[in-house]
């Protein structure tokens, strides 16, 4: 059953009397409309995800076939990076550092927070736009500048940053010019997130529709709300650290440089007396909440789609909300579990281990609630739902494999091995990225007025699910064998790595085939703009407020101010005429 299709010009939004027709640049480029900005963020994020993935596919050649020349592409990359088509260690490190940086800060966050947050949040709370539309526009262009800066860093002498996405001092302090550019890029990106978070929080509190109390918020809104607080309060210390590392590099200070450092046989001439651990503390103070920034919007998206496609209210709405809040709070006091191996004493190690174990509880509560929500549902296995349901066990594996890392004893043999890489990729790749995909297939009709093709979507899902597991499952075994991360030959030089060396080949082929399975998605994304099945306001028969706006919504979003009359997931209410009672219908 589909909604009647609205064709022709949209009914004029009642309270908008005059707005001058904006020129092309003000309407599509320097727009202050949250929907345009959201799409800008989303497209930018997707492009960077593709680019970051490409960097990794290049690395996977070196990991599968260490020292082997790469046909065709190897020559193109030139002699400073791949002489004779074989990868230099420096280039491998460049790829690794930039893969991480790009995926986290230019891919996932812009897509999950900037893209989905900007596009959906105002619609879902019944607002005409964000509280500060011009600041919203500025925050996108800050991101854009940050992205240009990061990309530009590949072209400076010595190449882009090579000290990991974590940029540990003292290595990052003495590294090539690319690191300086990285730091400048990070300042742009951090500013973008700070501006965005101020907007999200103010908008959610002030611009929600009449009747939309906090406990009637869709879970997506709660997730973005908590995420915004994480960004607001955790990013500034990294900004400060970035400034200090810049000063170490450019002004000759020794914030993070200890005394007596010798580089390539030459003692450094700086004053010394600095502390590399200071960088780690400030970095991880952000970077731990950052990983919750990476997952929370995805959890919110999955919650929406699960409720919608089980035709049932979510199980444990309140427990999910309290868990999100508790998780957000705890995320600020666990960070040094990334630093167990830095000589920390038993007291502080015990503290951080304890808080880390405690933080696993709300995650489990949320995951359990989402799984229990499936029980007894009339499940519709459309593409968004496939990705959402696929997310659940993948996030489960990611979360469970994190436990030995959070306990400092078991972290000792696992720290900085491929086990860690396997753990966090399960959470972000078949975790967050699946949630992103689910969200794209789900809200694409709202943004464009057309559905994406289901068959292509199912192929995209099936191939991605299998390939993700093929890539990342072997990494746990490689790590358990003792192979460190960031080795440019994937451990080939070590005898203890030989029994697991073949697994690198498996992972690499998984990655290259995964790329092939993204092609149906990319094609679908563009093809459906003109050729997808046209839809009306509520193609998914959903309950949340964004589905009362036209598809796509006009400037100002709604025909008349929406009002919330009930909770967000009133599906299959006994005695009701249809199997859902939208939040926005009286």
């Amino acid at each position: 059953m589909s909604d009647p299709v609205v064709v022709g010009p949209h009914p004029h939004v009642a309270h908008e009397v005059h707005h001058e027709e904006l020129g092309f640049w003000r309407k599509y480029v320097f727009s202050t409309d949250h929907k345009v900005i959201g799409i800008q963020y989303a497209v930018t994020g997707l492009l960077f995800l593709l680019f970051g993935f490409s960097l990794m596919m290049l690395m996977r050649w070196q990991l599968a076939y260490p020292g082997a020349p790469l046909p065709l592409l190897g020559r193109l990359l030139g002699d400073t990076r791949m002489p004779g088509g074989t990868m230099l260690p420096e280039f491998y490190n460049e790829l690794g550092a930039m893969h991480g940086t790009i995926m986290v800060f230019l891919g996932v966050v812009p897509l999950a927070v900037g893209g989905f947050g900007n596009f959906v949040l105002p619609l879902q709370i019944g607002a005409p736009d964000m509280a500060f539309p011009r600041i919203n526009m500025m925050s996108y262009w800050c991101l854009f500048l940050g992205g240009v800066t990061m990309l530009g860093s590949f072209f400076v002498p010595g190449g882009a940053a090579q000290s990991g996405w974590t940029s540990y001092s003292p290595l990052a302090d003495i590294a090539g010019t690319g690191q300086t550019i990285w730091l400048i890029g990070m300042i742009f990106l951090i500013t973008s997130s700070l501006l965005g978070s101020i907007n999200f929080i103010t908008t959610t509190i002030q611009l929600r529709a009449k009747g939309l109390t906090f406990m009637r918020f869709p879970i997506f809104v709660w997730a973005q709300f908590v995420t915004s607080f994480l960004l607001l309060l955790a990013f500034p210390p990294l900004e400060a650290a970035g400034v200090m590392q810049l000063m170490d590099r450019v002004a000759g200070t020794s914030f993070f440089l200890p005394s007596g450092l010798v580089v390539s046989g030459q003692p450094l001439t700086n004053a010394g007396g600095g502390n590399p651990l200071l960088w780690q503390h400030l970095f991880w103070f952000l970077a731990h909440p950052e990983v919750y920034v990476l997952i929370l919007p995805g959890l919110g998206i999955v919650a929406e789609i699960v409720a919608n496609n089980t035709r049932k209210p979510l199980w444990g709405y309140r427990s999910i909300v309290y868990s999100l809040i508790f998780l957000g709070f705890m995320s600020f006091i666990v960070w040094a579990h990334h630093m167990f191996m830095t000589g920390m004493g038993t007291a502080m190690a015990a503290f951080f281990q304890t808080t880390t174990m405690i933080i696993s509880i709300p995650s489990v509560v949320i995951l359990t609630a989402l799984i229990l929500s499936l029980w007894g549902g009339s499940i519709r296995f459309n593409t968004p739902m496939l990705f959402a349901v696929g997310f659940l066990p993948m996030f489960g594996i990611g979360g469970l494999t994190g436990l030995p890392l959070g306990l400092n004893i078991s972290d000792i043999p696992l720290h900085d091995t491929y086990y860690v890489i396997g753990h966090f990729h399960y959470v972000v790749a078949p975790g967050t990225i699946f949630a992103m995909m689910a969200g794209i297939y789900y809200w694409y009709p709202k943004a464009t007025g057309r559905k994406m093709n289901e068959l292509l979507g199912k192929i995209h899902f099936a191939g991605s699910l299998v390939c993700m597991n093929v890539i990342f499952m072997p990494m746990f075994f490689i790590g358990l064998a003792g192979v460190s991360r960031r080795l440019f030959d994937g451990g080939a030089a070590y005898a203890f790595a030989q029994p697991v060396a073949h697994l690198n080949v498996v992972s690499s082929w998984g990655a290259w085939i995964l790329a092939l399975f993204q092609l149906p998605f990319i094609f679908n994304f563009f093809w459906s703009i003109k050729n997808g099945e046209p839809v009306g306001e509520n193609p998914w028969q959903a309950t949340t407020i964004e589905w009362s706006a036209p598809s796509p919504p006009p400037h100002g979003n709604f025909v008349g101010a929406p009002e919330a009359y009930r909770g967000p997931y009133e599906y299959s209410v006994p005695g009701a005429a249809k199997d859902f009672m939208p939040q926005f219908e009286a």
Binding site: I205, P237, L277, H281, F329, G345, M348
Partner: protein, 110 residues
Amino acid sequence: MTSDHAVEAVADHHAADIDRHVRIYITVFVALMVLTIVTVAVSRFHLPVPIAVSVALLVAIIKGSLVACYFMHLISEKRLIYAVLTLTVIFFAVLLALPVLSYHDGFWMR
């Protein structure tokens, strides 16, 4: 039509209210000046570091509180702002304390 044409009278503050506020501002200004002189004067005694730090911090906290409460009107602010600031202060304290505690906890092992 923009929604902010509402000529909302500055409802919280009438003329007498402002006069009262201005008197408070002057009083706070004088207090801040006195405390500034106090903190500089005390520093001349070159007290042992722990005591010097405690006194300096105490005076700074008092001065800061005066600025926050009266110049920034925090004393009569809304609950939402208090909630945000409480959260901030907690994390600020965590950021100040935990790195140095971690560093010195392990110190004997190195």
